[in-house]
Amino acid sequence: MGIEINKPGSMELLMGNEAIARGALEAGVGVATAYPGTPSSEIITNLGKVAKKMGLYVEWSINEKVAVEVAAAAALSGVRSISAMKQNGLNVALDFLANLVLSGINKGMVLMVGDDPGAQSSSNEQDSRDLAKAIDIPILEPATFQECKDMTKWAFELSEVISNVVMLRSVTRVSHARGNVILGELPAEKNRAHFDTSKKYRGIGGVAAGLHQAVHEKSKKVAEIFESSPFNFYSGPEKPGLLIFTCGSGWLYTMEAIRTLGIEGSVGVAKLGTTWPLPHKFIKTNLARSERVLVIEEVDSFLETNLKEFVVDHMPGYHKFYGKTSGHTRPYGELNVDMVMGAIASLLSMEYVALSPEYEKKSREVAAAWVPPRTSQLCPGCPHRATYWAMKDALKKDGRDGVVAGDIGCYAMGVFPTGFSQINTIHAMGSGMGVASGLGKLDIFGFKQPVLAMTGDSTFFHAVVPPLLNAIHSEADVVLVVMDNSGTAMTGFQPHPGTDKGASGEARPKVSVEKLCESLGVPVTKVDPYDMAATKKAFYDVLQDKGKTRVIISRRECALIRANMQLGPIAKMHIESEKCFGDDCGCNRYCTRVFKCPGLMWDKEAHKARIDEAVCTGCGVCVGVCPQSAIVAEAIK
């Protein structure tokens, strides 16, 4: 059972992202592209699975800009397309998108962006709506799983009416949650592509300002269409004492808060599925219901600000707005029902206590104090732990206080103790190498520290090649470390140009990281991080090789890939207990305290280290860690 089942009218329990993928199928999508990123990845994963059966072209593109370009090519040639990404990805794609909105398209194209309020799996919690508005892209925000599907389908139709891209903005709690969805029809026709060469899609040649004007005109038309959107509706009393304007995930929280507080009779809810451009009549009619307006949305005060601006122009005078700017909700982090209940209760001067203070006190005293923390860590047997260990050792021996510019992926854990806190900077995809390229040119200012940039294989292809070229050409003194674990581990092993499979499992040519680097004329050193001695030496040697850009490829498949392929342990590990002095050893539990692989545990009774056989993958990396050589690996043949 997948998203392609042909049973119109049947009800399925779908994840928000599955519902979006289903909506695209119902709309007759032909091309789907993305670069993986939580919480957006499942859309393309699911479309990839049914590509063959449904006659689609699906790809994991090299980065978000390319993903949107590939999708646009389809939409320019008469084939409906969708491109999905997370909020950070929109930044990457923005350069192209800002121009695409001027040239327009010819068939429906949906830009799906998954925002991550609370930054649960992200380096920021940017609100992508601000960027979409900045470049005049209409915004739709699904609130329920059913809307995820229905709105996606509708977004394609809207896109065709205005010959332009439409954005569907979801958030983690909608994209990654599951709920009831009633399926619609799947189309029967096949897609046909043809590019009409009599047409020119362009912004250059002095036409941009005119096109910009046309886009603004189009915006008015979109606002007009939004007036009759089924995704905008009001519920509640005719003249409520408090009016709530809300959209997307905020609507679910709001409805639950109202039910829980039992105030259906006094609070009205205007729900907007179309948050930009604003449908004037709908807004006016609803704002007229009450002078007191609370706006509930995630993350920024996007709707709130736009409503206020609308009021200044169209209904000046008497409205009072509450929300992020008034401090009734937070302009950062995730929303939840408790926060919404708190905001409503304070505006209605109601008393609302989530939990009796006695229960809270008791729970803190008797239980919370005993709940052990569970922090971020690299998996047992993770090749990155080994690479970081070798790097740490080499940097220490080198003694020049080396700087490490990090990047986005599992290896970002290198900022924390389980990656031995090696990373000094971490920003966007590919920024490690970019920052390193800059650091590597500071010698004229007396900068003497060696510089390392980290990247994974997927990130290498996504955004590291241009800054690598930059470093080579500018003769930056930098070591690029490619931690190649053969997949996009962080988001669930999506393929990339360095792997031999495509989005639907089809065979694809592999691009070789080393051949690419070698062809650029930089020295390349290859190591297997499980071979700790050789890796340490390679790191040290490459660090000494001053003056130019060079590359280390530290290659070993992700421990989860090994587990999935049931490759089994490489070695059988044990601790020779007579050699381990335990608590009496001067090492002060060096193996567990510093090396921190979850496969090593401290045996409280024996006062010695022990291998946790259920957890250890037998990578053998910890062998050299113990100063007493008490950790022993027995090779498995």
Partner: protein
């Protein structure tokens, strides 16, 4: 015992990799087929790599779905695949009426494995539950699963235990039906057995 309230809030908690998403899907699907509106929200701790994971299953008869995260102090049932994670959920979502069904086998967090932090003893956990929740059932689901030859069956044993408590307004056969739809071939028998052993462990 049979919970009959609107909505029923069930939280399934554990550590990444223990398969709590599968439980939420099995239960959600079964309830949906009985005409309920379901929302399942997933929350991860700092990371998916061995971090805390919880699925919030909200079971309702109303049309408008509930939000994906249970409000504070409103979990009716907490199904715990790992004891310290069960405690964590009780402290954030429990109330006096909460029912708890928990596995007793710990998965030590790194801080415990390396000897920096102490893991609560079974006595301590039971004492906490006595103070904080209405009733708790303890099942050594990991051992039962290992007895069937696969630790990965722990989640199905726990699902059986949950159904054995009769807390949910749903017959056990509805879950068995889902298990049969989900698992085919040789896997089916062992999953049904795991379910049965969990069921009888609490009845």
């Amino acid at each position: 015992m049979n919970l009959d309230k609107e909505p029923i809030n069930l939280i399934i908690t554990g550590v990444g990799g223990q398969g709590n998403i599968l439980i939420s899907k099995l239960l959600g699907q079964a309830f949906m087929e009985e005409g309920y509106t379901i929302t399942i929200g997933e929350t991860y701790g700092a990371t998916q790599r061995g971090g805390s994971v919880a699925s919030h299953v909200r079971i309702s008869k109303e049309k408008v779905p509930y939000s994906p995260v249970t409000p504070k102090g409103r979990a009716d049932i907490i199904l715990g695949l790992e004891p310290s994670e069960t405690m964590r959920m009780v402290t954030s979502f429990g109330y006096e009426g909460t029912m708890v069904v928990t596995n007793t086998r710990p998965i030590h967090p790194l801080e415990v494995a390396i000897g920096e932090v102490e893991y609560p003893s079974q006595e301590r956990i039971e004492a906490c539950m006595k103070e904080l929740v209405d009733r708790a059932w303890y099942v050594n689901a990991s051992d039962i699963a290992l007895g069937l030859g696969n630790a990965l069956l722990t989640n199905i044993v726990m699902t059986g235990a949950l159904m054995g408590t009769s807390l949910l307004p749903l017959g056990r056969e509805k879950i068995e039906r889902q298990l049969k739809l989900t698992f085919k071939g040789g896997k089916q028998a062992v999953n049904l057995e795991a379910f049965e052993l969990g069921y009888t462990a609490v009845t």
